[in-house]
Amino acid sequence: MGLVIQSLPYLLLGALQTLKITLVAVALGIILGLIAGMGRLSRRRLTSFLATCYVDFFRGTPLLVQIFIVYYGFPQLLNEGQQFLMANFGLPQVLQTTHIPVFVAATVSTSLNSGAYVAEIFRAGIQSIDRGQVEAARSLGMTERQSMRYIVLPQAFKRVIPPLGNEFIAMLKDTSLLSVIGYVELTRQGQLISAATFRPLEVYFAVALIYLAMTFTISRFVDYLERRLRTGDHDRS
């Protein structure tokens, strides 16, 4: 017990890192997801094909593998690409090192992953709005953009809050995978303390409880938001 209390500050620091990377991942994921989600709904074949490829790849493969591709695979690509340019075109060496900082790899892999899930959330939210409303808007002379902005998105926005909250919780737990590339978040911090103290049971149990406290708090907050929004939602659904 004393051990857990002693290591608590370190674990909380780790939890802070966990929260930080999750926030960054989901925030960038929302931007990527909005683009990819709209892309999937685009009438232009190529746009919707590319968006679908992106979404399918990142939802259909394990996050751990995606992390490895970014952290280990991408530097290799940079390195070999540079070698190729130097050998064949006589270009000078630009990159001294092709190693990617852990934080960058962590951000890139989790954001790309989150963006794919968020894209599906936005797509479903937009598609849940009755087509008849868009037709009514168009029949009043509104452009496609205006009907998106004034009719579809304001209603879709309310509907995506709960699934976005779930995505945030899922991502918060999944960032534990970043421990394998040495990103010092909560799980990695637990590993380090456990290795130093030989008390895995207490340490990992404390780690689990901290995750639980975070996810529990967030899910209550999302419930609260959902209730707030429902009272303001004048749709019959």
């Binding site: 009755d130 008849g132 409303q133 037709e135 009514a136 808007a137 168009r138 029949s139 009043l140 002379g141 509104m142 452009t143 205006q146 004034y150 009719i151 304001p154 209603q155 939602d233 004048h234 749709d235 019959r236």
Partner: protein, 242 residues
């Protein structure tokens, strides 16, 4: 004066040919009622008149402007053609007043105060002045449909299209919506109305078009169609609904 001119209008959905060559001319201030069996293409015909569906072939001219000409600004033309749907299609996240003012403000660039004043006048006209701040879900079906009519009128269209405006209503609410439409007809609005309300067709219809399998099979005054129709398909249809 001709308000709507339709020439050899065709519309296919993939292999399915829904409209197979419609020709008709509708004068300004005329009220035309379209009847016909389910699937005969009535809705599709109406939706081609404001380009919610793009015709596959043929021409639609409204007030001298060809909708089928690729150079025509569709959004500009749609402002002149109001449409009322079977399922109302009000915007659920906006109040009754906002439903009516949105397009005039965003599309016609009317100042908000002017748009609100106009909306309140229209609401008075359809008998719903006291519902301005309600949300659509708080209204009955008949009230929602009257708001939908006011919303379309707020764009000051030259033509109003109605697609079975009373079919989704409980019987006791049909009358209040028809009353608003009758007023509109008497004020001289050019109207194309798909409906099975024969009383309405008789009372305010100038002309009835009977559609079957993507064609206008017979047309005439309400009296001609309802009492003396010549085509056997019209006869058999009317015997089912009258």
């Amino acid at each position: 004066m001709t308000m709507i001119e339709v020439r050899n209008l065709h519309k296919s959905f993939g292999p399915l040919e829904v409209l197979r060559g419609i020709n008709c001319t509708i004068a300004a201030r005329e009220v035309v009622v379209v009847i016909g069996p389910s699937g005969s293409g009535k809705s599709t015909f109406l939706r081609c008149l404001n380009l919610l569906e793009r015709p596959t072939k043929g021409e639609v001219i409204i007030d001298g402007i060809s909708l089928t000409d690729p150079r025509t600004d569709i959004n500009a033309v749609r402002q002149e053609v109001g449409m009322v749907f079977q399922r109302f299609n009000l915007f659920p996240h906006k109040t009754v007043l906002e439903n009516i003012t949105l397009a005039p403000i965003k599309v016609r660039r009317l100042p908000a105060a002017r748009a609100e004043q106009q909306a309140l006048e229209l609401l008075t006209r359809v008998g719903l002045r006291d519902k301005a701040d309600s949300y659509p879900e708080q209204l009955s079906g008949g009230q929602q449909q009257r708001v939908a009519i006011a919303r379309a009128l707020a764009m000051q269209p030259k033509v109003m299209l109605f697609d079975e405006p009373t079919s989704a209503l409980d019987p006791e609410m049909v009358g209040e919506v028809l009353a608003v439409m009758k007023d509109l007809a008497r004020e001289g609005m050019t109207m194309v109305v798909v409906t099975h309300e024969m009383g309405f067709a008789r009372e305010v219809g100038d002309r009835v078009l009977f559609m079957d399998e993507g064609l206008i099979v017979e047309e005439g005054t309400p009296d001609q169609i309802f009492n003396n129709c010549r085509n056997p398909r019209t006869k058999s249809f009317l015997s089912k609904i009258l």
